[in-house]
Symmetry: C2
Subunit: 375 residues, 2 copies
């Protein structure tokens, strides 16, 4: 293997696959990045057994990427990324010598790394399915940003540590819940799916994927299997395992018989809750109480040791009914942050019933926060 | 106590004193900020027994700061800072009611905090000395930035966890060493000190102080006592304990009989060492070897498991002598970072003698890095 490549091209590709480099030392070869140079194409692969990332660089422009010899080798991932990042030159030469030595050199720098034979790299899959589902990159990013935060961190409930993707016809419904709150995003696909799917993707993995996604207007293909999902976009492939188990049916959690809807400016409401929660001593479950009195919204919290706080703001209401309800400020703020609208609507069903947060500016998103009994 | 104050004024003052709010729960009252409003002046004080910070706000402009009643109280530091920071209003009203309740309110927000009686606050000192030493704020910032990094983190050698300030006449010499490297800064004072001093200021404390220092052109007064130092600048007072014990005499560490001086561009040399140290596995003491061959500087490092690296750069030399020497890349990089010059000069005395780093552009600073024997 011998080639000369523009630094920026290699750095971009390495940065993408590096998210999958294993940092555990269980399987040493997985701490490496597999370089495969054949048919005028450099393929980089990294995997930690949980996710696998692969990207390719085409040598269609000899000025940017000039191949002398084809070949394959595994290079230690941590070092190759650092080396390429820190080399000041525009072009980098990479060459395998003595079978398993990798020479990385520019005019004044010469790195000589120990490599591992390509034959030791495990088979990492990355097969495509015959049927695929297409989503816009920007849409997938929104889904993940607006739902992943609501999933659980507790490994004791594995299925809740993922995002549920439910595909039926041209409707994609995504749910994420830790059983105290629920985030739901419903999207109409441009093209109906040939098959229906109901899968759970680990939130952590799909969050990593969205970090390396590019242009919002591009299409990402979902290739769904029984135990894994392959995302493919441009020259990038990202595979994740799926979480086994049945995702809870969350539809019955979303009541549509609210007796009162309170409409408010999103930022103003967020900031009020942020201030009211300053004094709540238990930072994990900081409880605030919301109350309406006519068109005045009153938010309160108190702590015997520290003191109490009361904030007022003027809101629009759907009718003259009033509500008094308590909830976690943290959960409410995270739910509010998922909206990029100017206003939000709080739908109240009862004092001990879930609060729905929606916006007339974006019907695709619903957030639900459970109330907390304070008496 | 009752007053109305411009938010920005109070926030700036609170941000400064908050660095001294105690986060340990040993003495609860020290988790508070003492508010003292008298003689048209609000004085804020915080102390964690290691450092004490005090700042004052004058009510010389009623539009910014209007006093209704004088008085004093201790307010829980963590909350008052958060409240003032997050209130959206331009002006904030603060009032003591029922003796120990503090009301903080604006148009739509009302915080009611539990306070502590001023009488419970310990005497925190802050006396001034009759003799003082004046330094420019910008000069003090440079001293700390250029020397503090070289002091030790190990509490087993307390005296090395500080910066040694040695004042004799109009010369201030500052030393900092962890016994593997030494940073020395020598300043000529605008005015001779009436007395000579040889003190050790905890590096951590003086670093905190430089973070809240303002305009480089202002003067900071040093009031030095046997066991503490008071810094005073404008309406800000900062007091730190001093470290007991005799600081080692470092002068004999600085040889002036170098047989070779290598001059190089600072950034280029820094980046070469940064790259050469990528492969050094022990990240704490990453050893690199420097060698001259004529006007070529060669930097190398190697690791049996990972591989090896060699970098070359062209430098200017004082004569035809050559050197081969090994040192910690981390220590060399930290020493280089303390220079804001374009070039640096490396003074070599011998293969097992300290390396001196100086710059003809700034004679006030000397860095010393000990070599590491690699054979």
């Amino acid at each position: 293997m011998k080639f000369t490549i523009k630094k920026e091209l290699l750095l971009e590709a390495l940065s993408k696959v590096s998210k999958a480099i294993s940092t555990k030392n269980l399987i040493p070869v997985l701490a490496g990045v597999k370089f495969e140079l054949k048919k005028k194409k450099l393929t980089l692969t990294a995997s930690d057994n949980d996710i696998t990332i692969q990207t390719t660089i085409d040598s269609d422009n000899e000025e940017n990427f000039k191949i002398e010899n084809e070949g394959s080798i595994i290079i230690q991932g941590k070092y190759i990324l650092d080396i390429v990042r820190k080399l000041p030159d525009d072009f980098i030469n990479i060459e395998v010598i003595d079978e398993l030595k990798i020479l990385i050199y520019t005019e004044n720098s010469e790195f000589n790394l120990n490599g591992i034979s390509e034959s030791e790299y495990p088979n990492v899959g990355l097969e495509e399915s015959k049927k695929k589902v297409d989503i816009k990159v920007g849409t997938l990013k929104s889904i993940v940003y607006q739902t992943a935060f609501a999933s659980s961190n507790e490994e004791s409930k594995p299925v809740l540590t993922g995002i549920n993707f439910n595909i039926a016809g041209d409707i994609l419904e995504c749910n994420s819940t830790d059983s105290y709150r629920l985030a739901r995003k419903v999207i109409k696909l441009d093209k109906s799916s040939e098959e229906n799917y109901n899968i759970v993707i680990p939130s952590h993995n799909i969050l990593e994927f969205t970090k390396i996604l590019g242009d919002d207007e591009e299409i990402v293909e979902l290739h769904i299997f029984s135990n894994k999902i392959l995302f493919k976009t441009g020259n990038l492939k990202f595979e994740s395992r799926l979480i086994n188990g049945t995702y809870p049916n969350t539809s019955n959690l979303l009541p549509d018989d609210s007796f009162l809807v309170v409409s408010t400016n999103l930022n103003a409401f967020y900031n009020v809750i942020d201030r009211v929660s300053i004094l709540t001593s238990d930072k994990e479950k900081n409880i605030v109480t919301l109350e309406t009195q006519g068109n005045t919204l009153i938010l309160k919290s108190s702590s015997v040791e520290i003191g109490r706080v009361e904030e007022k703001m003027t809101v629009n209401k759907s009718n003259n009914e009033d509500i008094k309800i308590s909830f976690s400020a943290k959960y409410m703020m995270e739910a509010l942050k998922s909206f990029s609208t100017e206003t939000v609507d709080l739908h109240f069903v009862g004092e001990i019933k879930p609060i729905l947060i929606k916006s007339s500016e974006d019907e695709s998103l619903t957030q639900l926060v459970l109330p907390i009994r304070t008496y």
